[in-house]
């Protein structure tokens, strides 16, 4: 029998289910229980675009060192979906375990000698112990959670407390959940050797961290930034941004005296209307945002061009999913980068922000509103499904009460009075922003906002020089925003001492949710003797540090989740970095990235250009020799 993983707080397991059977609560319960035991954990929900019936998986990675990227190496798979037995069994690592619902027949031919099969008749147990058919289906999931408590050594008291919090007031539900947990737990205790060789043990690695998804954090950012108008159209995976925003507003934005809402959330008839409402509200002086995904951005293009040209603040949260077209709505990608950077016809350029995890979703969400008003332009927050809909362990979100919104250059009636005359697009400051006025405050500040050719005074024009003066300023304004974009995160895995000191020949460059996988990959590579530097770009326009970093490396591998190397293209278009310094490493199948994929990608890239790699790395490290062929 091959050796099993004997790691404490260092393993991964996967739960295979049928969509719509209520497995989410069982999986969430497990994830949260591990988190509360103080153990770093991450969960990825790999779900189909379907209401009920198709296969769905949930992966949980437990890693005492805080690695959170997707694991592709499963020590344990809980197989609750007979339709996917073959596939699930294949994915168990040698020496691993398969916990399956033995009510369903398992083809003998699928058995593997290097995997331990643990059968529990979950469905049968639930049929015997529960009367209602819906309950019998739902409780199967809680029952496997019960078995996992025994097999992985999850603390009962933690689970107990979670159940109390979830069902505290619903006594009947609390009791049936308890019963189901106990069914699974007792069966495992009586029939298997518990715990498994790999298991959990309480530690204190989570400190005061929180478990939160990116969409909730984004909504919190909008709340704290003082956004009052939100307009949206439902779309996966962005819907929960607005659902969260709504529930937060209901909680924190009711006028205590009148009970009336200090917010307006409008469910628009489509995405075109949603962004139109945001622009109308921004024009009138409110902080406003919409949330959508790629198909919505496509529809919003025309309006984004208007807001760019007429210089109206607007915040758009794009929780990216897999395109093109309808694509794979419940899978993740980073493929809206170029369409957002240059959204709309004509010469347009937008400010983009790329959060990597929920804590940045919160921070960048607030920042989006400040940048939109400071630069009087749309700002697009590019999140994605992995960040937005999965739970992440991140530092506790904090708030500085000294924060005040940066409203940018808005003239008050008093300031207007001092002016001889007001012209919307003249008198620019160092950031190429011209002062604006809000409707309703002063007869002197009136002007006509237009998406047609206008001159410095705001009047209609078709004169080349007048038109150019305005669009040139807009280009300068976009560039001037660079120092206000969160700077790239730059780290070195290279030794600063001894022989290896000096120039690092290669780097891994990425953005957004690839962060965890790429950093972990760099650590692994470093251990293999292939050290590289790291840069995570956090927004567009790029800061000066981006170009400097790229130029300082012979080769920069740009890791991104799209087919057409969109980040690499944007870098090539918007910087002077020589093209030969930029290489692509692409992952666009729709699932979150794993460190192993990046390591493999880099080794194979280096292997393919052997001579170059040898020169660049100062001699091919031993670890690479296997990857050369």
């Amino acid at each position: 029998m091959p050796q099993a993983n004997t790691g404490v707080n260092d393993f991964a397991f996967k739960l295979a289910n049928v969509n719509g059977t209520g497995s989410a609560s069982a999986n969430g319960l497990l994830m949260q229980a591990i988190f509360r035991m103080g153990i770093p954990v991450s969960g990825k929900n790999l779900f189909p675009s379907n209401i009920q019936g198709l296969p769905t998986w949930y992966e949980i990675r437990v890693n005492k060192d805080g690695r959170t990227s997707r694991a592709l190496d499963y020590d344990l798979i809980v197989a609750m979906n007979a339709q996917t037995y073959a596939r699930d069994i294949k994915e168990v690592r040698t020496g691993g375990y398969l916990l399956f619902d033995s009510t369903w027949p398992l083809d003998r031919a699928l058995r593997r000698p290097d995997v331990t099969f643990l059968g529990v008749p979950f469905a049968q147990l639930c049929v015997e112990h529960f009367r209602e058919s819906r309950e019998r289906i739902l409780m199967k999931n809680i029952a496997y959670a019960g078995s996992l408590i025994a097999l992985l050594d999850i603390e009962w008291s933690v689970v107990e407390a979670l159940l109390q919090e979830t069902f505290g007031k619903k006594k009947a539900l609390l009791e049936s959940n308890h019963k189901a947990l106990k069914l699974g737990y007792d069966f495992a205790k009586q029939n298997f050797e518990c715990p498994l060789p790999f298991r959990l043990q309480r530690m204190d690695a989570n400190g005061d961290k929180i478990l939160i998804d990116g969409n909730t954090a984004t909504a919190l950012g909008a709340l704290y930034a003082g956004c009052t108008v939100a307009a949206w159209y439902p779309i996966t995976p962005a819907t929960s941004v607005m659902e969260s925003f709504k529930s937060l507003c209901e909680r924190y934005r009711k006028d205590p005296q009148t009970g009336k809402n200090n917010f307006a959330i409008l469910q628009a008839e489509d995405e075109l209307a949603a962004i139109g409402m945001v622009i109308g509200a921004g024009w009138a002086g409110a902080r406003a945002f919409t949330s959508t995904a790629g198909p919505g951005v496509s529809l919003m293009n025309e309006f984004l061009g208007l807001a760019y040209y007429a210089e109206i603040p607007a915040v758009l949260v794009d929780v990216q999913r897999v395109g093109p077209s309808t694509g794979m709505p419940t899978r993740t990608q980073q493929a809206d980068l170029l369409s957002c950077a240059y959204a709309s016809h004509g010469d347009t350029k937008h400010i983009l922000l790329f959060p990597a995890h929920p804590a940045e979703c919160f921070e960048f969400s607030v920042k989006s509103f400040d940048l939109a008003e400071k630069f009087q332009t749309p700002v697009i927050l590019l999140s994605d499904l992995d960040i937005g809909m999965n739970d992440w362990v991140v530092p506790r979100l904090t708030w500085n009460d000294d924060y005040r919104p940066d409203r940018g250059r808005v003239l008050s009636p008093e300031q207007l009075e001092k002016l001889a005359a007001f012209h919307r697009y003249s008198d620019e400051d160092e950031h190429f922003v011209t002062p604006r006025t809000l409707p309703g405050f002063s007869p002197k500040g009136a002007y006509l906002t237009r998406g047609s050719g206008h001159n410095r005074l705001g009047g209609y024009t078709e004169l080349p020089e007048e038109y150019q003066a305005v669009v040139d300023r807009l280009a300068q304004k976009h560039r001037a925003a660079a120092p206000f974009i969160p700077p790239a995160v730059i780290e070195s895995r290279r030794s600063t001492r001894g022989k290896g000191k000096g120039r690092t020949p290669f780097s891994l460059v990425t953005l957004g949710g690839c962060d965890a996988a790429v950093r972990e990959a760099l650590d692994l590579l470093s251990e293999m003797g292939v050290p590289g530097d790291y840069m995570r770009i956090r927004g567009f326009p790029f800061g000066a540090e981006v170009e400097t970093f790229l130029n300082a490396h012979d080769v920069n591998y740009i890791v991104e989740q799209n087919r057409d190397h969109q980040l690499k293209s944007l870098i090539a278009l918007e910087t002077n970095v020589p093209k030969e310094k930029l290489r692509s490493m692409l992952f666009y199948g729709g699932f979150p990235l794993s460190a192993g994929q990046v390591v493999e990608g880099l080794l194979s890239a280096l292997g393919k250009s052997e001579g170059e790699a040898a020169r660049g790395l100062g001699g091919m490290p031993e670890a690479l020799s296997g990857a050369e062929g």
Partner: protein, 351 residues
């Protein structure tokens, strides 16, 4: 949108309104529309209505989309902010602006191309939302700015210059509005200022979306025999069925109510709309009766005009959303941001 400033010489001895402003103060730039365009007459009626109601020009927000009609905001109330947005999408922009600042008078100016083709969806949803605004459709049955193509309100059988005939039934904004719950539906004729001005005044005082369809002949492309949107046809077939007058709150006590044939509906701000000259059995507050009446008139080739339907009981967008009475843009940041203490508490829920 080309515009030319007006000459500075003002006509002497102009009357002033309650704010001490003259009609001239409600004007805008010189129109660059074709001479004789119906839209310019609508502009004149708007100027008159705004002046008569003594609305401060800077408390007006002029919203439009794209097209001949959408140039109108340039030609009135130069002291007001205007927004010439994108084709057919004025309603969304107006909705967002109204959501942010409920304290302004929103005037949306659109056309049959802008509102009945590309913008049909947005117009319908603004109606359903009952956004408090005056929504004027300058309806000429033709695309003027792109030189004479059919619009969605073009008559069946009307012909392009090269002879192509329109076979599709026109979309009638009044019918549409009535069928999807509009709370104020009026139709008028750009050449009938006497009727149009009171309608616009009542519309500006309405608590929700006031849809005013104005037949506005296009002198360049659609003012010919066979067009029901021509000057001649409209003059001949216009049937003022519901002459309305707005009685502002200040005059309420003096209003002679109760005369035979007069119907009065109280508006949200206390002013009254007084209907007179109503056909027998016509009740401008009964949607079920208005629609068949209009259909019957249309079948005879007649164009019933006037304030056709009014309902002040339906809540507007803000009432439906329970929004605070203070315009959202004036709510201080301190009451919007829950602060660090609340965030700390919230974080416990993510532990």
């Amino acid at each position: 949108m080309p515009s030319i400033a007006k000459p500075s010489a003002a006509p002497s001895g102009s009357q002033t309104n309650d704010l001490g402003l003259t009609v001239r103060d409600y004007e805008g730039a010189m129109s660059t529309l074709c001479a004789g365009c119906g839209h310019d007459s609508i502009t004149a009626a708007l100027i008159r209505a705004l002046w008569e109601l003594s609305i401060q020009p800077h408390r007006i927000a002029k919203m439009s989309g794209i097209g001949c009609s959408s140039k109108t905001p340039t030609y009135f109330a130069s002291g007001a902010h205007g927004f010439n947005s994108v084709h057919g999408r004025m309603p969304a922009v107006a909705t967002g602006a109204a959501a942010a600042n409920r304290g302004l008078y929103y005037i949306g100016i659109s056309g049959d191309g802008d509102s009945l083709s590309i913008g049909l969806g947005q117009m319908s949803h603004a109606i359903r939302r009952n956004v408090r605004m005056l929504y004027v459709i300058e309806n000429n049955g033709v695309y003027g700015l792109t030189k004479g193509q059919f619009s969605a309100s073009a008559d069946v059988g009307s012909k392009l210059k090269k002879g192509e005939e329109n076979r599709m039934a026109p979309i009638d904004p009044a019918f549409l509005g009535l069928s999807i719950g509009a709370t104020f539906v009026a139709r008028s004729f750009s050449g009938d200022k006497q009727q149009l001005v009171p309608i616009l005044k009542a519309a500006l005082k309405h608590r929700g979306l006031a849809l005013v369809d104005v037949i506005s002949p296009c002198v360049t492309f659609n003012d010919h025999e066979g067009s029901t949107k021509s000057y001649l046809y409209t003059r001949k077939h216009e049937r003022p069925v519901a002459q309305a007058d707005l009685v502002p709150p200040a005059e309420e006590i003096l209003a002679p109510i109760g005369a035979k044939g007069v119907t009065t509906i109280a508006m949200h701000d206390g002013s009254l709309v007084r209907f007179s000259a109503l056909p027998e059995g016509y009740d401008p507050g009964d949607r079920a009766k208005v629609l068949p009446y209009l259909q019957e008139q249309q079948a005879q080739g007649l164009i019933p005009t006037g304030l056709l339907y009014l309902d002040e009981s339906v809540p507007d967008m803000h009432e439906m959303n329970n929004t605070t009475d203070t315009p959202l843009i004036q709510v201080p940041f301190e009451s919007l941001c829950p602060g660090s203490g609340a965030l700390e508490e919230l974080m416990e829920g993510f532990r």
